[in-house]
């Protein structure tokens, strides 16, 4: 492998863009000391080289990977992860694929291969958890959910929910990476760089949240209480978007009721008496 050079590659943040960085590294026969998708904030003495995204270049690299019987999907998944130095790791990984072929994928004790496998596991695991933890609210027939994941899991959730809620109009918004999966009239699309906030729930929606919380509380066996076990299975960072764990909406509502309408008792509010 060539030496690290005093150069930083800067690309447009797209997958193809990153693969073009790999292309550049081969053309110049060099290893950049870093790859970034935004101009580094800190003043750097290193040369910054902007890499144009040219799909002709990225396709050549990807074809080469496929020709060696290696998994392009794995690299696409690695691109969704939040592992530090992700782009450099991916570059090193692809270089290993080109030098060792398929064998490299199984070199689980190698530092680069190991780090990327862990990152991809972390990401798919987070996506798996979110298949369960996503909570929709209904707004006039449309279902909406917000998630705050560490990895860009939206592409990994899209197919699952499109299949599960085939006939529904819905969307899932990732407020960390500002992207969303939107599914309308049986067609899905991933949108990037958008902003969104959940509107307050209506009466029926509050009713369902209330029922679900009742169920959640009733199903616990208090003699077996084990908050640590719960925490390790459902880490706290997910709680703010989980209906049964974040009850700030009921607290806020009770306050409004108390302030504004002494006639309305807690009970007459959102209880669903018949469905």
């Amino acid at each position: 492998m060539p030496d690290r050079r005093d150069v930083i590659y800067c690309y447009d943040g797209s997958f193809d863009g990153l693969i073009c960085c790999v292309f550049e590294s081969y053309v110049k026969d060099e290893l950049p000391s870093d790859i970034c998708s935004e101009e580094p904030e800190q003043l750097s003495l290193l040369e910054i080289r902007y890499i144009e995204t040219d799909t002709a270049h990225s396709e050549r690299v990807l074809r080469g990977i496929a020709k060696r019987n290696c998994s392009v999907d794995f690299i696409k998944q690695a691109f969704l992860t939040c592992v530090p130095k992700r782009d450099i790791l991916i570059l090193d990984y692809i270089r290993k694929l080109f030098s060792y072929g398929r064998k490299a994928e199984f070199m689980l004790a190698d530092d680069t291969v190991n780090a990327l496998n862990k990152a991809v596991y972390h990401c798919t695991h987070e996506a798996h958890l979110l298949k369960g933890f996503v909570r929709f609210s209904e707004y006039g027939g449309v279902l909406a959910a917000v998630i705050s994941p560490k990895n860009k899991v939206i592409p990994l959730l899209a197919d699952h929910f499109a299949d599960r809620l085939g006939g529904e109009n819905f969307f899932i918004y990732d407020d960390v990476h500002r992207m969303a999966f939107v599914h309308i009239d049986r067609r899905g699309e991933i949108l990037e760089n958008i902003d969104f906030e959940l509107p307050p729930p209506d009466r029926r929606e509050r009713g369902f949240r209330g029922l679900w919380r009742e169920f959640y509380d009733a199903i616990e066996i208090s003699e077996r209480e084990n908050p640590r076990c719960r925490m390790s299975n459902m880490p706290k960072r997910f709680w703010k978007n989980i209906t049964e764990m974040n009850r700030s909406d009921t607290a806020a509502k009770a306050e409004i009721l108390q302030k504004n309408s002494p006639l309305l008792s807690e009970n007459s509010g959102d209880r669903i008496t018949s469905l």
């Binding site: 998994s71 199984f106 070199m107 689980l108 004790a109 190991n114 496998n117 862990k118 991809v120 596991y121 972390h122 798919t124 695991h125 798996h128 958890l129 298949k131 369960g132 933890f133 909570r135 929709f136 209904e138 279902l143 959910a145 699952h160 299949d163 599960r164 809620l165 085939g166 006939g167 529904e168 049986r186 369902f208 209330g210 029922l211 679900w212 009742e214 169920f215 959640y216 009733a218 199903i219 616990e220 066996i221 208090s222 003699e223 077996r224 209480e225 084990n226 908050p227 076990c229 719960r230 390790s232 299975n233 459902m234 989980i242 209906t243 049964e244 209880r271 008496t273 018949s274 469905l275």
Partner: protein
Amino acid sequence: MDISEKLKILAASAKYDAACTSSGIDRSGSGGLGNASACGICHSFAGDGRCISLLKILMTNFCLFDCKYCVNRRSNDVPRARFTPAEIAELTIGFYRRNYIEGLFLSSGIIQSPDYTCEQIIETLSILRNKYNFRGYIHAKAIPGAAPELIDRLGTLADRVSVNIELPSQKSLKVLAPDKSKNSILLPMGHISGKIRENRYDIVKYRSAPEFAPAGQSTQMIIGASPDTDFQILRLSEAMYRNYSLKRVFYSAYVPVGDQKLLPPAGTKPPLLREHRLYQADWLLRFYGFRAEELLDEKHQNFDPNFDPKCNWALHHPECFPVEVNTADKEMLLRVPGIGVRSAQRIVIARRQGKLDFKDLKKLGVVLKRAIYFILCGGKRFEGLVVTEAGIMRQLMSESAVKEQEKRDFSEMQITFFDSENAVPTMEDRVKCLTGEM
């Protein structure tokens, strides 16, 4: 009574059923509402740490029977409620669309007659499947004593059907569940497993045959309500897996429900460690190739609270160790404390690319603290290791080593190259049996 009142009562009376898994079948949505995922999906975790995957409720907690260990027994003075089939169906759909749940787990106390009760459950399921075109997961309890034709109907609507054994011996059954008999439990289980086998054959033969309980059958045993030993329980589980091809046996530590003279008094702590050891042993039967008689025998009828069953086995079989990690077959690797299903798989893959040393093993997810006493790498022991019996014991008993193992189970890298013939524990299995990989 309003819906929310009913829900509270009928969820609380279903909570002692340990099964809440949704695994075992892959089914796409095909445009309807819902699908099923073979690996199982947990939607939430209750304050007791147990996974919540299904809307687990009773249709009613009125019951004609008087099983001593059960909150819903006739003689117990508790508030009673009953859902209509339509209410259950609407609740399920409302929760499902919001992604609260993976599906429904419906059981019931026995009202009027076992047949009538079963018919009510069938009606609920048909509303879900036919009116709402619901393709999510359904687990239904087969009511003991219901006619075989009704059980058959149930099996074509549900993904999983279960009959709970609850008590592992006939003697305990007689004393504690006077209205039930061994036959009223085993007959439907045998019937269901026969139907499942027949159906798998039909499906191969005629593509269009309707599926019967595609996610299989499960059962549950209560731990600590009767004097039965771990050995009796485990042997029964083994026989169930073999003879009735059960998908899962669940173990539920008994929580006293009111003072009864034949049962542990109120306030007795549920035997959670014992339940845990049984889950570990069950796991060894299903994924590690152990047999019940290897883990316990007539002389040792109960598990040692200090060691997990696999460690216990290893300590009693010094003649099998140490094993050479670079050459040992996978079956033997699986028997090393500190090497789990996944790390064993990784070892087998990684060692084809080159000899492994202790540092590599750590990266592959082996818990070295425990494993070093039992393995060699390239013919050598771990450097500086002094093997004393006391040292081994201390290390194997240490809670922190167990904790570390648990942590790894969840944060380990994934192997994308599983060979599919091997049983691989699902995410749900891992949650259920916390120190799963041993």
